[in-house]
Structure formats: structure tokens, C-alpha cells
């Protein structure tokens, strides 16, 4: 046998070469197909995937109040827990599932199913707090699991003040997208730009430190600095809550304070609101009960409607008939056109026949004001007078000013959901429409429209742009946007403006708006009461009203305008703008004006009535003390038999009413004495005074008591039944109840 190779082997070896060559050709053919034909598509897929899972989240900007330091909305780090099942050791999966399920409060079986998925990446839970993340890290370390669990940084929104300013701030959704309020309006600016990591983040979540890494850093969102002052906002929210309780307001309320010169919103409170930390929970317990009472299939829709309602910003999204508040605009138009001056007279006979309507007439809310000047007409809020002014202006002029005041367009405030106004154009303004519009009925605007128009009357005639954001700051502290405070147009002359301010001040002092009077602050105001016409409530026996009060102060150089608006106060208690919204207006303005550093300037008349402060007599001899107190124009009451004053009530520096009393305690026995605070509400000034004196306390009055002829006490700051020391001062707020509309 030969060992040499044979021809057959040769031949077959050559066939082998051919087969190998064929194999290689097949491969080359496939490479041509993949690289040269389908290459672009595959390359795109490769690039796409390398960018997609490695997005770097940009931190959402913070929202500050006007001080730039008080945080209204802020993002804090939270974590997304994800698994990479392909990298988890098979024997670790059960342990991991049990541990994660326990830490994350999930079902063990669910986590295990995720861990066993045949995939490279799957989410387990989002928005996990940092403490929980640390717990997971600890667990992984304890169990020696080094791969397969990813913790990705994300952000969650926090609103430190809780249920405060909700409809203004809005809230964000699961992906940090703004869904409502400023969060929605400024979503792009707040969001910033997500970054990219071109290299893969590896399986344990750290970056690979290679020079090829291309990292496009995330650009954090801009911070918003609002024009809203957290302090003023608090005044508004508290006052509204009190008002809602007092008048059993059914459909929410809002109060907006604005800088009359710049249009900057200083505070915007809406009630019937929510906690932006928890927007999906209905805040109103009654609403929850109502929904639970519904059949099951209607509950979802009802819940959704209730949520929409609580998210709604009434100040910009609700429209209403401004009612008598609008008379300040009609008056300004007529005065600007020279149709009327302060002394122009008109006779109100209760009923006014509208020209060109074939005898249709409009009634005044009062039984005829008789002959009155324009100033008196406004102070009386006399409807026929203003219908007459509207007629004198005619539809074209009226509409020209109506448009100029900005009622035909959105104000453009930087809040989402601003409602469109509903009105008649010049050619649609038939005599009856013109007549009703003249006193604020038959057209719908938002509260913010009315406030902006009031500002233009207050600031010399300039229509300003209402805005909420003052400026935006980038992550390095550079200001990237500043609000435009330029005015849109001059609506009336500064002369008309000045004259109207005076008339409105008179109105707020002795007219129908005097419930808004604040001694020393030269308040101007106008009340409004409008009947709501609801399509689904044609039953006129149930009447629904909106009570509003719009005013500004101080008259000599107006700074702040405030509109208070109550939607459906209980008519059995009161529904007039003056009585319902007036006290809230006072309560807010009384706090806002000193907060802004505006000083009280008393007229002589006021000086006679204002409170003084208690002098310091503690530690003095009783005789000396008596003299000091009497010199200050106050009366003295001495308790006990001691020689020196151990204590005085009111204490040094506290407010004492004119001709009030200071009680001096001279021994320990007397110091233990207490009296009970009586109910001081629903009384006339003199009756309240008498009750107080009888109980051994004294009262300090606020509100309409000083200017009104017939004030009635409405609230007291120390509740009935409280045990206090004799001489304690209880502040009682009075309102005017006769004067309405």
C-alpha cells in the first residue's frame, strides 16, 4: 500500500477548495447586502438606539416668588429603578425579586416576572425617593449583586407651601411635563433641554471613562421669578377662605391684586383649589361625598369634572357679567368724551325707558334716586344714569372704548386657559344691548379683564399687560427674560383718570362701596352684584349671584388694585358685592398696603376717630400713671389696692380706641381676674360698644363703621366665650348693609 496521496484525493481536495470559496463568496455577498445596500438604515438604527436610552434629564427650573428666595415649586431628585435581566445571575433573581418587592412595596411575583424577561432593560418603578434608592443600594451590596439593577436619576416636583396658589402654579405629570398653570405655560422654559450620552452607560450605571465619550450635557430649565409676593398671596388666600365660610359661597372665589402701573400680579388666589403636590385628589370633602353617592358608571366622569374644576384658575378662565363694577368704565368713557362732568345731573325715577326699543325700560335697583349729580349717581350705583350715559355715547363710541379697555381680546396674561370674552360688536349693539352693557350686564369678561381696566383708570389711563412672571434666570444666574411692563395703549386721558379716581374714592368713603373704606389709606372702589344666568338653571326661583368688589389705593398715587370675586354666596345670608366682597377687600388691603410700605395719611376727620396706642405706665406710681393716661386722652380704671402699677392692659404700644380705657393692675389679686368675651356680631356700633363695656372689655372698630350711617358688626377677632383680662381690645369689623348693588 502506498502512502502517497492519490489522484482522487487531489480531485476531492480541489472540490473542497471550490466549496470553501463558495462559502466565502456567500459571506461576501451578504456583507455587500448588509453594508452597501441596507447600511444606511442599519446605521441609523444603531445611532438611534445609542442615543435613546442614555438621555440625561435636565433639572426643571424652580419657581420663586417676587423676592427671588421663597421657593414655590422645586424639583428634587428621585430615582427610576430598572432591571437588566440579561445581566442578572440566574440564582440571584429570586433574592433580588424578593428584596426589591419589599423595598418598593410591590408584588414579589411581578418583580420576578420582570427579572425573568428575556430583555436587556425593563422598568420596575419610577419616582422612587432617594431614601428608598439608598435602601436598594444597601440591599444590593449585602447580597453581593453587582449587575443588573439600574438606578437612573429623575426629578420630582415639590410645592413647599402645599395647598397654596395651586391654580397659578399648576402641576407636572409623570414625565415632568407641565400639565397646568405656570408649569404648563412655561413648560419649555422650565424643562430645559435633555442631554445625551453618546457612549452607552454601562450595565452598572456608571459612565465609561473613554475619550470617545461624547456627552452633551443637559441644560437645566430656567428658574421663574414671579411678580407674586408670597406674603400678599397669603393675605388673599386667608381672607378668601374666611369670606367663603362666612357667606357659604358655593362655587369658589378669587382675589387678584395687581400693580396698577406695571400690570404685575402681586397675588392671585383662587379658592376651591387644590394641593399641587397631590393634584389628583379632590380637596372638597362634600364633592367626594356627592361623587360617591352617584351610580358607579357616572363616578369617573364626575371625578374628572371635579378635578378639572379644582384645577381651574377662576381669575382667567371664568367669565362673568362684571355688573356695577363696570360703571367705572362707562363713567370714564362719558367723562373722556365730555358728555358728563362731576356736576352733571340726572333724575332717576326708578324706571328708565330705553330709547328706540318701543317702550322697554330698565329699572333701578333702588326706588328712584331722584335728581343726582354724576358723582352721586356713581356713588348710588344708579343704573338709569349709566344707561343714559350709554345712550349718549352711542354704540360706536361705546364700542370704541370697550375695545380700548381690552374687553374684546384676551389680556394675554401668562397663564394658560384664558377664556374668550363674549360681547356685542358696534353694529350688534342695539339700544337694549347698549343699555344693559352700560351698567355691566349682558357681556362676559374674566376678572383679570376687569382688573386690568380698573388699573388703566387708576394709572392715568394706560392699559397695562397683566403678567405673573417677572423674569427668568438660567442655571448660571443670568437673566434670560424680563417681563414687558410697557402699556398697550392709553385709553383715557390722565385728566379723566384723576377725576374718576376722586369720584371712586368718594364712592369708597361714603358711597355704595364704603364697605371697602380703610382709614388713612384713601381707598377707591366700586362694588358689583351680578345675577348668573345658567343655561341649566332656568328655574328663576333659585337665584345665583356673583358678588364682587374692585378697587385700588391710595387715591393720590394708586399702587395696588384688588378685585375680589365670590361665585354664588348663599343669598339667604347676603349676596351683594358691597356686603360680601367688601370686607374681604378691606381685610386684604389693610394688610397689603402696610406690607408694601405705603403709609397711612389721615384726614382731620379721620384723626378724630383713629386709634391711639397705649402709653407705658407699668412700674409707675398709680397717681403718676393716672395722669399720664389721662393726658393721652384715655380713661383709667384701677384694679386692686397697690401703690404701683404692676401691669397694664392694653400693654404699651398696643392699639387703643379713641377715648378708650387703660386698666391698671396694682396687686396680684387683681391680676387673676378674667372676663368672658361676648358675641359682638350683628350689632350696631353703639350696641356693640355697650355690650363690650358691660363685659369689661373694649372694642376697636374697622370697616364701614367710621363712615357709614348704619353699620352692622360682622366679625370679631377674639371668639365669643374666650376668657380674657378686663380691658382687652377686641377688633370688630363692621359692614354697611343698606347700601347695595
Amino acid at each position: 500500500m502506498a502512502k502517497e496521496t492519490t489522484i482522487r484525493m487531489w480531485r476531492r481536495a480541489l472540490i473542497l477548495i471550490l466549496m470553501m470559496a463558495a462559502g466565502l463568496c456567500l459571506v461576501v455577498f451578504n456583507l455587500i447586502r448588509l453594508q452597501l445596500v441596507d447600511g444606511e438604515e442599519l446605521k441609523k438604527a444603531a445611532i438611534d438606539q445609542s442615543l435613546q436610552p442614555t438621555a440625561l434629564t435636565a433639572e426643571r427650573g424652580t419657581i420663586y416668588d417676587c423676592s427671588g428666595t421663597k421657593i414655590l415649586a422645586q424639583s428634587a431628585s428621585v430615582w427610576t429603578v430598572a432591571l437588566e435581566p440579561a445581566y442578572i445571575e440566574e440564582e440571584d433573581k429570586k433574592v433580588l425579586a424578593r428584596g426589591l418587592a419589599e423595598i418598593l412595596d410591590m408584588e414579589e411575583a411581578d418583580v420576578l416576572a420582570l427579572a425573568q424577561k428575556k430583555t436587556y432593560f425593563t422598568y420596575v418603578k419610577k419616582k422612587v425617593e432617594t431614601a428608598v434608592k439608598d435602601e436598594i443600594l444597601e440591599f444590593l451590596e449585602e447580597n453581593n449583586i453587582s449587575r443588573g439593577v439600574q438606578l437612573i436619576e429623575d426629578y420630582k416636583r415639590y410645592y413647599p407651601y402645599g395647598n397654596f396658589m395651586g391654580p397659578v402654579l399648576g402641576f407636572t405629570g409623570a414625565d415632568n411635563q407641565g400639565l397646568s398653570g405656570l408649569e404648563y405655560q412655561y413648560d419649555t422654559e422650565l424643562s430645559g433641554t435633555a442631554g445625551r450620552l453618546v457612549t452607552a452607560k454601562n450595565a452598572v450605571g456608571t459612565d465609561m471613562p473613554f475619550q470617545y465619550e461624547q456627552r452633551v450635557e443637559a441644560e437645566d430649565g430656567y428658574d421663574l421669578v414671579l411678580t407674586i409676593d408670597e406674603g400678599i398671596q397669603h393675605f388673599l388666600e386667608e381672607a378668601l377662605e374666611e369670606g367663603i365660610e362666612n357667606f357659604e359661597v358655593a362655587n369658589g372665589a378669587c382675589a387678584v391684586a395687581m400693580n396698577v402701573k406695571t400690570g404685575a400680579i402681586l397675588g392671585l388666589a383662587t379658592k376651591g383649589d387644590y394641593d399641587p403636590n397631590d393634584p389628583w385628589t379632590i380637596t372638597d370633602a362634600d364633592v367626594i361625598k356627592e361623587i360617591e353617592a352617584l351610580p358607579e358608571d357616572e363616578q369617573d366622569a364626575a371625578t374628572s369634572a371635579a378635578l378639572q374644576k379644582q384645577w381651574r384658575n377662576k381669575a382667567v378662565s371664568d367669565t362673568y357679567y362684571p355688573g356695577s363694577v363696570f360703571k367705572m368704565c362707562t363713567g370714564s368713557m362719558a367723562m373722556e368724551e365730555g358728555i358728563v362732568s362731576e356736576e352733571t345731573t340726572f333724575t332717576c325715577n326708578h324706571s328708565y325707558v330705553v330709547e328706540g326699543t318701543g317702550g322697554q325700560h330698565i329699572n333701578c335697583w333702588a326706588y328712584g334716586h331722584g335728581t343726582e349729580t354724576f358723582v352721586e349717581g356713581l356713588c348710588n350705583s344708579c343704573n338709569p344714569f349709566f344707561v343714559h350715559l350709554g345712550e349718549s355715547l352711542g354704540p360706536n363710541l361705546f364700542y370704541k372704548y370697550f375695545e380700548a379697555f381690552g374687553f374684546t381680546q384676551k389680556t394675554g396674561i401668562d397663564l394658560p386657559g384664558e377664556a374668550n370674552t363674549i360681547y356685542y360688536t358696534a353694529d350688534q349693539l342695539n339700544p337694549m344691548e347698549l343699555a344693559t352693557e352700560s351698567f355691566g350686564q349682558n357681556f362676559s369678561i374674566t376678572p383679570i379683564h376687569m382688573l386690568a381696566a380698573a388699573c388703566s383708570i387708576a394709572n392715568g389711563g394706560y392699559l397695562v399687560q397683566p403678567h405673573v412672571v417677572d423674569h427668568m434666570v438660567d442655571e448660571d444666574g443670568n437673566i434670560v427674560m424680563t417681563a414687558d411692563t410697557s402699556y398697550k395703549r392709553q385709553v383715557i386721558s390722565s385728566d379723566t383718570s384723576e377725576r374718576m379716581i376722586k369720584i371712586l374714592q368718594t364712592n369708597a368713603t361714603i358711597g355704595t362701596a364704603k364697605n371697602g373704606y380703610i382709614a388713612g389709606y384713601r381707598v377707591c372702589g366700586k362694588t358689583g352684584t351680578s345675577q348668573k344666568i345658567l343655561e341649566d338653571q332656568l328655574d328663576t326661583s333659585k337665584k345665583h349671584y356673583i358678588a364682587s368688589y374692585c378697587g385700588f389705593a391710595p387715591a393720590d398715587d394708586p399702587e395696588v388694585a384688588l378685585l375680589v370675586y365670590y361665585d354664588e354666596p348663599n343669598p339667604n345670608i347676603n349676596y351683594y358685592g358691597s356686603a360680601v366682597a367688601g370686607p374681604t377687600f378691606v381685610k386684604c388691603m389693610e394688610q397689603i398696603l402696610p406690607y408694601l410700605g405705603i403709609e397711612r395719611k389721615y384726614t382731620e376727620e379721620e384723626l378724630e376717630k383713629i386709634d391711639t396706642t397705649a402709653p407705658s405706665v407699668t412700674g409707675e406710681k398709680v397717681e403718676d400713671a393716672k395722669k399720664t393716661v389721662e393726658d393721652a386722652g384715655l380713661t383709667v380704671k384701677v384694679k386692686g389696692d397697690g401703690d404701683t402699677v404692676l401691669e397694664q392692659i392694653p400693654a404699651f404700644g398696643e392699639a387703643v380706641p379713641q377715648e378708650g380705657t387703660i386698666v391698671l393692675y396694682t396687686d396680684e389679686e387683681s391680676q387673676k381676674e378674667t372676663v368672658t368675651v361676648p358675641d359682638l356680631t350683628g350689632m350696631s356700633l353703639s350696641a356693640a360698644n355697650q355690650t363690650a363695656v358691660d363685659s369689661g372689655i373694649q372694642i376697636r372698630v374697622t370697616g364701614a363703621a367710621l363712615t357709614s350711617n348704619n353699620p352692622v358688626s360682622q366679625t370679631q377677632d377674639i371668639a365669643e366665650g374666650t376668657e380674657v383680662r378686663p380691658g382687652t381690645v377686641v377688633t370688630v369689623a363692621f359692614i354697611e348693609v343698606d347700601q347695595v348693588a
Binding site: 500500500m1 502506498a2 502512502k3 502517497e4 496521496t5 492519490t6 489522484i7 482522487r8 484525493m9 487531489w10 476531492r12 481536495a13 472540490i15 473542497l16 477548495i17 470553501m20 470559496a21 462559502g23 466565502l24 456567500l26 459571506v27 461576501v28 451578504n30 456583507l31 455587500i32 448588509l34 453594508q35 452597501l36 441596507d38 447600511g39 444606511e40 438604515e41 442599519l42 446605521k43 438604527a45 444603531a46 445611532i47 438606539q49 445609542s50 440579561a86 428575556k118 430583555t119 436587556y120 453618546v198 457612549t199 452607552a200 454601562n202 450595565a203 452598572v204 465609561m208 471613562p209 473613554f210 470617545y212
Partner: protein
């Protein structure tokens, strides 16, 4: 009936004359069994002529090493230098090795950092083994490959024991479960796949048996049965490790050896049909039919795989290849190696080559493999005896089959299964084994009748 030299073999003789030391003899005479006429003729060779002695076939066990050695008879020197190695083969091989190391570094540094905290871990390891392997290769190239006759059965024994051990120790710390398979053996610091050794064993034992029983290749008893038994044994044990790819390669190598070794084509076709039928049976009539169908579906459309079929690796591989376009993203610029493509340093290194060097680079790699196969077969054809030729063909075919199958997997031409790319894929022991086997080819080339440049 015997045929003398053809014109072609004449010219080859002319060429090979330069390398001869002894005068050429006439082609060896061969006892004709007389059963049937053969077309088979001894090819010209540069053999010494010692092998022309008639070996009695007798009753001796043809498979015992002793008998085999008796048949070979000639005493070989331990080292046989003779003329030099085939430098063409050596250069192609070294080019592939260097190319492979460069690409390994590029492909592995990301995953190396990720897995060991050191970007250089893989490349340093691999380089050490490459140097060791080259030294070993050169040493072996001086070693007279005929001594392997003696080792054929001992190596077969060791391999079988090792493979049996794999089955017995399945799941223990020596043979851990890695992704559902049991292909790695861990002994102390060394770990390797016994299936790699099985491939060499198969080549060696087949070359040995075919070369000593060549004249009986046409019989069923001697030409088919022993090989089927051996192949079945080796492939079966490897299959027990759940190592499908190695099984496929073993069968392919066996087929190539038998084909070249002169098996009658009718047996060859029959065996092929039998294996095909077995596969079809497994696919269609076992409980895995549904899963297999899903796998096939996933293979045909990897971007929309059916539920439960993970085609991530294939998808990533295709994206990597496609990203390369004509000229590639540039060396080291691969995106896909950043943990997108699992095991970029291993079975899927070719995808990274495609991505970084483009179609041009990929073509270069394929060309180098083509040249290596061509030269390996040329060397084998020039081998002075059947043993050398079959050994050379088997070892070359092993590299060729692995390279082609690997690239087929990477390009999704065939379904995904773990096949490494020779000279490129990471794996120290397997590289050393591969280079040692190339040393055998070089050893064959020393006495081979090829034109050495």
C-alpha cells in the same frame, strides 16, 4: 488496472525536484485487492520511498496503534527540519494573527473595562497566549508530524475521557452552567473547551485511520463504520454539553476528511441523508418543534422577533455591520461595542471589524482567510503521504469552516450559535491550541512538495 502519471502530475514533479534529496523513484506499486477496478492512482510525491513496502493486512487489529506504527515502520527523527516551512502560509497566518489582535483590542476594551475594570485585560491576556502559541507553533513545526501516528489513539482516549467527564461533572464547579450549556472545563486557573480538543482529535484519528486503511476505504466495514462510530461518539458527547455549534463543526470536519479521504460517495450521500433526516426528525417531531419554528422566525426577521425569542445580539450585530458602510467608522470608533453588542471580543468580533473598518476591512479579513485556506490545502496536496495530506486538509478545513460559519452567524446568514472566529476571538487556550495545530500544518509544509517562496 493502473494508471500512470498524468500530464499535470508530471509538471508537479518537475517543480518538486528541486527539493528532493534522493532520486525519484517510480510511483509506488500497490497491491491490488482485485475486488474491483479502481480509478484511484497514487499521486506523485516527494516521499522517500520507504513507504512502498507492502504491509501485510492480515488479522492484526488495524486500529491498534502498534499495528499502525508497524505499518508506518519507518523510524522518524524527533525533529525533522528538512527544508524550511512554507513562508507564504506562515505570513498569511501571522497577518491574520496580528490583525486579530488589533481588532481584539479595539473590540474588547469597553467590555474589558466593564467586566474587569481594566481596558487592557483581554488584550494583554490574548497577547501573552499569542506569543506562547507562536513559540509552540514554531517548535511543533520542527517536530516530525509522523510521530502523531503514535499519539492518535492515546489522544482519542484522553479526549473521550475528558468529554465523558464533562457529562459526568455537568453542573459542578468544574463544569458550570453557562447560559444553559456545559462546554467549559475549569481546572484551577485554566479553563478551556474540551470540544476544541475533540476537533483536533477527530482530524488526527481520521487522518491516521484513513491513511493506514486507505485501500479499504471503499468497503463499508472499514471505510464507513469505524468513522461513523468515532464521529458519533465524539459528536454525541459534545452534543451532551449542549454545544450545538461544535457538534456541527465536528460533523463538517469529519465529512470533509471522509470526502477527501476517499469514502465512496454513495455512503457519503447516505450518511448525509441520515443526518439530515435525524435533524428534520428532531425539529419536526420532538416537543421542541414550536420553539424551533419561533427561532427560525426570529432568524428570518430579527427586527420583529416573535415573543420569547431574543434576537438582541443578532440585531446589534447587523446594526454594527451596517454602520460600517464602505470604509467603516474608523479603527476603535465602534459604537456597538459599548455593551450594545454582547461579547464583541468574542464570537461577534467580526461585526466590530465590519463596523470599524467597513466593507473594505471585512473583505480583507475574508481574503486573508481565503488565502490561508488555499495555501493550507496546497500544502496538504503537496504532502508526501496521505497522513500528512489528510492532517493538513483537516486542520485547514477546521479553520475555514469555523471562519465561514462564524461570519455566517454574524451576518445572520445562519441562525445564531456560538462559533468563534479563529485568530480573532478572545480565548487564550483555544488560540494556543489553534496555533499548535497550525504548527502541525507548518511541519507538514516542511516536507511538502510546494513551491516555497
Amino acid at each position: 488496472m493502473r494508471q500512470t502519471n498524468t500530464g499535470r502530475s508530471q509538471s508537479q514533479r518537475e517543480v518538486s525536484r528541486n527539493h528532493r534529496r534522493k532520486p525519484t523513484r517510480a510511483p509506488a506499486s500497490m497491491p491490488n485487492s482485485g475486488r474491483r477496478p479502481r480509478r484511484d492512482v497514487t499521486a506523485p510525491s516527494s516521499g522517500t520511498g520507504a513507504a512502498t513496502t507492502v504491509i501485510p493486512v492480515g488479522k492484526a487489529n488495524p486500529f491498534s496503534p502498534r499495528t499502525a506504527m508497524k505499518k508506518v515502520r519507518k523510524k522518524f527523527k524527533i525533529f525533522s527540519v528538512r527544508s524550511g516551512v512554507d513562508r507564504v502560509f506562515l505570513y498569511i497566518l501571522l497577518s491574520l494573527l496580528v490583525f486579530g489582535l488589533v481588532m481584539l483590542f479595539s473590540a474588547s476594551f469597553a467590555s474589558s473595562y466593564f467586566e474587569s475594570g481594566d481596558s487592557y485585560h483581554y488584550i494583554v491576556q490574548q497577547s501573552i497566549f499569542a506569543v506562547l502559541g507562536c513559540v509552540l507553533m514554531m517548535v511543533i513545526s520542527f517536530f516530525d508530524y509522523h510521530h502523531l501516528h503514535k499519539f492518535a489513539f492515546p489522544i482519542l482516549g484522553v479526549t473521550l475521557v475528558m468529554l465523558l467527564m464533562m457529562v459526568v461533572l455537568k453542573g459542578s464547579s468544574l463544569v458550570p452552567n453557562i447560559n444553559g450549556t456545559y462546554r467549559w472545563l475549569y481546572i484551577g486557573p485554566i479553563n478551556f473547551q474540551p470540544s476544541e480538543i475533540a476537533k483536533f482529535t477527530l482530524v488526527l484519528i481520521f487522518a491516521h485511520l484513513i491513511s493506514i486503511n486507505y485501500d479499504k476505504m471503499e468497503t463499508f466495514r472499514y471505510g464507513v463504520v469505524p468513522y461513523m462510530v468515532l464521529l458519533g461518539l465524539l459528536a454525541g458527547l459534545v452534543m451532551a454539553e449542549k454545544h450545538v455549534s461544535a457538534t456541527v463543526i465536528l460533523v463538517a470536519i469529519g465529512a470533509v476528511m471522509l470526502f477527501v479521504g476517499g469514502i465512496r460517495l454513495r455512503y457519503f450521500v447516505m450518511a448525509g441523508a441520515l443526518i439530515g433526516a435525524a435533524i428534520l426528525y428532531l425539529v419536526f417531531f420532538s416537543d421542541k418543534f414550536d420553539y424551533a419554528l419561533l427561532r427560525i422566525q426570529g432568524w428570518l426577521d430579527p427586527f420583529n422577533p416573535p415573543e420569547g425569542v431574543d434576537t438582541w445580539q443578532t440585531r446589534q450585530s447587523l446594526m454594527a455591520i451596517g454602520s460600517g458602510r464602505v470604509l467603516g467608522l474608523g479603527l476603535a470608533q465602534s459604537r456597538q461595542k459599548y455593551l450594545y453588542l454582547p461579547e464583541p471580543e468574542n464570537d461577534f468580533i467580526f461585526a466590530i471589524v465590519c463596523e470599524e473598518l467597513g466593507f473594505v476591512g471585512a473583505l480583507a479579513v475574508i481574503l486573508l482567510f481565503g488565502l490561508l485556506i488555499w495555501r493550507g490545502i496546497i500544502i496538504s496536496l503537496g504532502a508526501k503521504d496521505k497522513f500528512g495530506m489528510l492532517l493538513g486538509i483537516g486542520l485547514t478545513a477546521q479553520v475555514g469552516i469555523q471562519a465561514i460559519l462564524n461570519i455566517c452567524v454574524v451576518t445572520n446568514t445562519i441562525p445564531n450559535t456560538g462559533i468563534s472566529l479563529p485568530f480573532f476571538s478572545y480565548g487564550g487556550t483555544s488560540l494556543v491550541m489553534l496555533l499548535a495545530q497550525m504548527g502541525v500544518v507548518l511541519s507538514i509544509s516542511r516536507t511538502s512538495n510546494v513551491d516555497k517562496v
